[in-house]
Symmetry: C2
């Protein structure tokens, strides 16, 4: 696991500019103060996370590294690989850590995310959403021209023809996988004969190169109870396995058969032919995942640790049984269950107000807070929370080790 126990220097250098990127307005510090923290790419001063201005996003490096190591260990034991989804972290430094740990590539949900990752040194990219407009197809082909390791999904014959025409016009060949619908009807083509027909079309088109298939069963990831989750997702992936068999029988590539997520990472390998899991949330975890229960711990999903937190400051303590903080919906989202105060019991946090959070005490609250004091929140749903922040603070033993640019923040196009 030497790859994961990166030194501070390793972190700072791992993706070049992104790691030592110096924002002009890091929260809590002026540009000149932040500049003063770095000499030759190394942070010089010993800054406690509790000194950071709030609200801000923090990731605990020990927990992040142990999550990445645990995932690699499990998928290796299960004979598959990880292809982590960068839609969760949107952060090139973390993508590089995942690749360094053994992941076969990363996924992105949008072309703008793929561009941001590539611009920051990540090249093994599978885009899991179909590009349907002329603008996005052009962007995808531009990226493919620059980066031969870019693979994109397609889910209709009409789209496959457009992709092939665009690739032909640029004199390139584009790698594609067939997106197969697990039954949620959100994206993907119907498994079985329709998917086979599309794959055969792709195989016949002059400028496309079929690499396999993907089937993301998003609807099963948060099913409560390990057995219930296992039964549901294996049933829903059966169509994809049939499709995998049809591809093989027709001599079509099944080099990639990607699917699954953090909720089913230790289940998906039972799907025949599956090569890798598109796990995202495991790096950070959140209250939504903690509540689904795990294989060993039925009530709490404890396979991975909650590494991502929001720091917030108490603004008002004048009223009985509650305090107001500076982290509301714009800092936490309004996802449920609500964020939780890390390390404390007997209190509940809500972020329904745009600008302010509310912390209410129950009779058995483990402590209370005064104005100006800070508390740390385990986030509700990590993906949209990360998407609110321009940077995250990388923390080890409560000290700031680096400031990471969330380079694909807001890249929803």
């Amino acid at each position: 696991m030497t790859k994961l126990s990166m030194s501070r220097r390793r972190f700072l250098q791992s993706t070049g500019a992104a790691a030592i990127w110096l924002p002009t307005t890091v929260k809590g510090y002026t540009a000149s103060e932040i500049q003063a923290l770095y000499v030759d790419g190394e942070m010089q001063e010993d800054v406690s996370k509790w000194e950071l201005d709030t609200p801000c996003l923090c990731v605990d490096l020990d927990l992040l590294e142990s999550n990445i190591a645990a995932m690699e260990s499990t998928v290796n034991q299960n004979g598959i690989a990880s292809r982590p989804h960068a839609k969760t972290h949107k952060t090139p430094v973390i993508a590089q850590m995942q690749l360094d740990s053994g992941s076969v590539g990363i996924c992105t949900a949008k072309i703008s995310e793929a561009e941001a990752m590539y611009q920051n040194g990540i090249d093994e990219i599978l885009m899991t959403t179909t590009n349907v407009t002329p603008t996005k197809i052009r962007r995808a082909m531009n990226l493919r021209q620059e980066n031969p390791r870019f693979v994109q999904a397609t889910d209709s014959s009409q789209n496959a023809r457009l992709l092939s025409e665009a690739a032909s016009a640029m004199g390139i060949t584009a790698d594609v996988v067939v997106d197969v619908d697990p039954g949620g009807h959100r994206t993907g083509i119907t498994p079985g004969a329709p998917a086979l027909e599309l794959a055969q079309l792709i195989d016949s088109l002059p400028s496309l190169n079929l690499r396999g298939l993907l089937c993301y069963d998003g609807g099963s990831q948060h099913v409560k109870g390990f057995e219930e989750r296992k039964n549901q997702t294996l049933e829903r992936l059966a169509g994809a396995t049939d499709t995998f068999d049809l591809f093989n029988q027709s001599g079509l590539s099944t080099e990639i058969f990607s699917g699954g997520g953090t909720g089913t990472y230790n289940i998906d390998h039972e799907t025949r032919g599956l090569t890798d899991v598109q796990v995202g949330s495991y790096v950070f975890m959140d209250a939504q995942y903690i509540d689904i229960g795990g294989e060993t711990d039925k009530d709490v999903y404890s396979d991975f640790a909650a590494s991502l937190t929001i720091l917030t400051t108490v603004l008002n303590d004048q009223y009985e049984g509650r305090v107001t903080t500076d982290a509301g919906a714009k800092a936490c989202t309004i996802n449920r269950p609500w964020a939780r105060v890390k390390g404390e019991t007997g209190m509940s946090y809500t972020s329904g107000s745009d600008e302010f959070g509310t912390l209410r005490y129950e009779d058995n609250a483990s402590r209370s807070y005064r104005v100006g004091e800070k508390l740390e929140l385990i986030v509700s749903h990590c993906d949209p929370v990360v998407n609110l922040y321009n940077q995250m603070y990388a923390i080890r033993n409560d000290r700031v080790e680096a400031v990471w640019q969330i380079a694909a923040r807001g890249m929803s196009a």
Copy 2:
């Protein structure tokens, strides 16, 4: 109303750099394409909003201007002023339009928002939240030193003493207002004697200058039914009026008595002494406000028009009764009621999925959509939606007139 019927040149020049800011990654265009659109600060090409890559945020200029004009007209008739809240739009160009129309200043919720506004040419700023940490107090005093028109809220004697000490240390005097709690207990000091005591302390401190009070009754803004809303907010503002009287009787300044919002803008003037309304959402409107009903139209709050929309593209139309789009929670938030398809009936949109929206047709749907087609959404809750985007497209007659930087996006600290 000549101030509001700005020419295209006027828009582009109104706040200098912010208006003609050229992002390197405007969605749908490469940096070189965007550069080609502008010559000497004027957009040269005739770009339809329907050509923009999606998801993207658009504001209709005719509707935005009419909303600003309507607000000014009403508050002028009612003998008060507007002090619009920039937490809604986070966009210096719109703040400047509001000031040009007659607003007495703008509000900000956070110090980072105030800094972003000041850096982009806006100086008449009332920060409505108390700065409680040494870092934020230092930032507030730095801003006050540069910008004599910056006023900040305080809601405790402890905080007032800290503000005065910080101002003294910098050799300046800081202008403050007392934040009075309307009963929601979120922020503010209890009205009446406690608020008076705080005001008297401020008046006695060496480096603070009392300018008045504010009382924001956020909990009443979305009460359904005009009469219900009116009764509730006037009742809840009564304590602030008592406080206003106490200040006057004690010879303390009530130059500023700020309160109210978009839901109560035509009610708040009945509160004796109130000088201005901190209206935010009226510039954009959203599904949440449309549903509360107005004074004349009981069912639909139609005083202002929905100027803010999200453009989204259909990605998948393969399944009966529904299509999938590219605007999910990261582009729309998950606020309720959900976003609505502008100009269409008999269909419902949901954005519960992080990356994808779902449009479902009812039996009487006014139309259907195919892959690649775009649709326009009236947003659910404008404030957190704006906070997801780096820029908004300013549209007139469906043509792109400018690209505006949302300079205070993500400024939650």
